[in-house]
């Protein structure tokens, strides 16, 4: 094997690793959109809160982010469903513009709160149990990135299993397909909406926890991920969980490989160009419904 091939392969796989995190964030976003047609602009803030939950668990009680991860997931699930009941529930039938302003308002609220409570500084978790590098077949990866990617696969797999194999998951899918018909089946549609927000927030929170071992933690960190999450959701097809998963990996590869070939300043431009191509050629996304 020659050296340039190794570098290319290394870059490609790095793209897949970060892409899996993008996938998890997008799965949460697409789930909320799929079930109730509301775009959650505060989705990146759920990720940010997941990072801070990991950070404070580590800073205050020396609990590793990997250990606190299930609690982070539960906390964000609770926060997501609480936000549904307290805020979103009131705007379900409101015009789309009001819905956009509402979730955008949540974004500003959570960012502001994080700045106010935890200062705008960059924080890092320096001595997690996952650190260092792993080498095999001439390639080298950070252990945190590998663990994060594995965690993202597991959590996406759990969400997929839940939707495909459980009664509640079937009810959630039925609600996404047709709210009135779901209600006529005896499904409590309000409860399904809250569940979608809970799961959506938990996905983003877990992604935040997985990122916290190798990514700086700061109040605006969600902004780095939300734009990519929107591209991923559109690429995968709005509302499609499987689509979001594969699209996340594609976006990760395009970003990292393209950045490597053309220069890092073009990373985001390439991702957005990919989005434009999809919108032009296949507006319903890879696995979306036409």
């Amino acid at each position: 094997m020659n050296a340039s091939f190794d570098i290319l392969l290394q870059t490609l796989l790095s793209g897949v690793l970060i892409g899996l995190i993008y996938a998890l964030v997008a799965v949460g976003l697409t789930m909320i959109f799929g079930v109730m047609d509301i775009v959650n602009f505060a989705h990146g803030e759920f990720l940010m809160l997941g990072m801070y939950a990991s950070f404070w668990g580590f800073a205050l009680w020396a609990l590793d982010p990997m250990f606190t991860l299930p609690f982070t997931a539960l906390m964000l699930f609770g926060l997501g469903s609480a936000i549904y009941h307290v805020v979103i529930r009131r705007i379900i039938r409101a015009p789309m513009l009001s819905q956009i302003f509402t979730t955008f308002g949540l974004l500003i609220l959570f960012r502001g709160l994080a700045q106010f409570l935890w200062k705008p500084d960059f924080r890092t978790i320096d001595h997690s149990i996952v650190q260092g590098k792993v080498a095999f077949a001439g390639l080298q990866f950070g252990l945190p990135q590998l663990v994060a990617a594995a965690g993202a696969i597991v959590v996406t797999g759990i969400v997929w299993w839940f939707l495909q194999r459980t009664r509640l998951g079937a009810a959630l899918e039925a609600t996404a397909a047709d709210k009135d018909a779901a209600a006529l089946m005896g499904i409590d549609v309000q409860r399904m909406f809250a569940l979608a927000w809970g799961i959506g927030a938990a996905c983003a929170g877990v992604a935040g926890a997985l990122l916290s071992t190798f990514f700086p933690i700061f109040p605006e960190v969600g902004a780095n991920f939300i734009l990519i999450a929107f591209v991923t959701v559109a690429l995968g097809g709005f509302g499609s969980v499987a689509g979001a998963f594969w699209a996340g990996i594609i976006v990760g590869i395009v970003e990292v490989l393209g950045g490597f070939l053309l220069g890092p300043q073009y990373k985001l431009a390439l991702v957005l160009a990919l989005y434009l191509i999809v919108v032009l050629l296949r507006p319903q996304g890879l696995l979306g419904r036409a």
Partner: protein
């Protein structure tokens, strides 16, 4: 069994139902007939809980259910087969039927109901792994009715069961409705196909512009001058 008392319903403040009252006795087949856009579907939707009441009461077996959410009414025994069927087209026949039994916990009883549904509509058993959206209109209607029965209702609301299906299948569907009724399920039926509906109904109501204008037995209405002139072409 069901008593609808002076209900009013509006869409975005535009009144759709003005003071509608009707009743369905236990074991009856009752039809609501009338032209398009006169509030027949809205009446069924209001009974199922999909439309909010501005006034009036809906009493099911001595209990006012008019303010309950749709899913709570399903638990109390009201099941609706909506206009246009509203199946879950990307789910299999079996999954659609399972969702129909969503409120029921006893899997042995659900299995019994499923066998009854398959006896009524053998084609559903043959097609149970097929996606609902890929079946013919008639088969989809059978699935919609089967799904409605999976909730084990006391009262089945049927909105235009002959909509979009081949004429020879209409007879089969209406015969099946009579057979379902014979098992003790009360039926409230909305139908465009007036002659057919009145032929199987014990009693019927005629609706015009959000009001009930006539009530009587199926036979009486078939012979009434108003119905003849307005709907049966003199």
């Amino acid at each position: 069994m069901l008593q609808v008392e002076h209900i009013r319903v509006s869409y975005q403040r535009v009144p759709a139902l003005h003071d509608i009252s009707l009743r369905v006795a236990r074991g009856e087949i009752v039809a609501i007939v009338g032209g398009n856009g006169n509030g027949k579907s809205t009446t069924l939707r209001a009974i199922a809980g999909l439309n909010r009441l501005d006034a009036g009461r809906i009493v099911l077996a001595d209990r006012d259910v008019g303010t309950l959410a749709p899913h709570d009414r399903v638990r109390l025994g009201i099941s609706m087969v909506p206009e246009g069927r509203r199946l879950f087209p990307r789910l299999t026949v079996a999954r659609n039927l399972e969702l129909g039994a969503y409120t029921r916990r006893d899997s042995a009883e659900v299995a019994t109901t499923l066998r009854q549904v398959f006896t009524l509509f053998p084609v559903l058993e043959e097609r149970r792994r097929q996606l609902a959206g890929t079946m013919s209109g008639g088969e989809q209607q059978m699935l919609a009715i089967g799904r409605g029965l999976m909730a084990h209702p006391q009262l089945l609301l049927l909105d235009e069961p002959s909509w979009g299906i081949a004429p020879k299948l209409v007879t089969k569907i209406l015969d099946t409705i009579v057979a379902i009724n014979a098992t003790g399920v009360s039926i409230l039926l909305v139908e465009q196909n007036l002659r057919r509906a009145l032929a199987i109904a014990d009693r019927a109501y005629v609706m015009q512009t959000g009001r009930m204008v006539l009530e009587g037995s199926g036979q009486e209405l078939l012979e009434s001058e108003l119905v003849k002139q307005a709907y049966l072409g003199g």
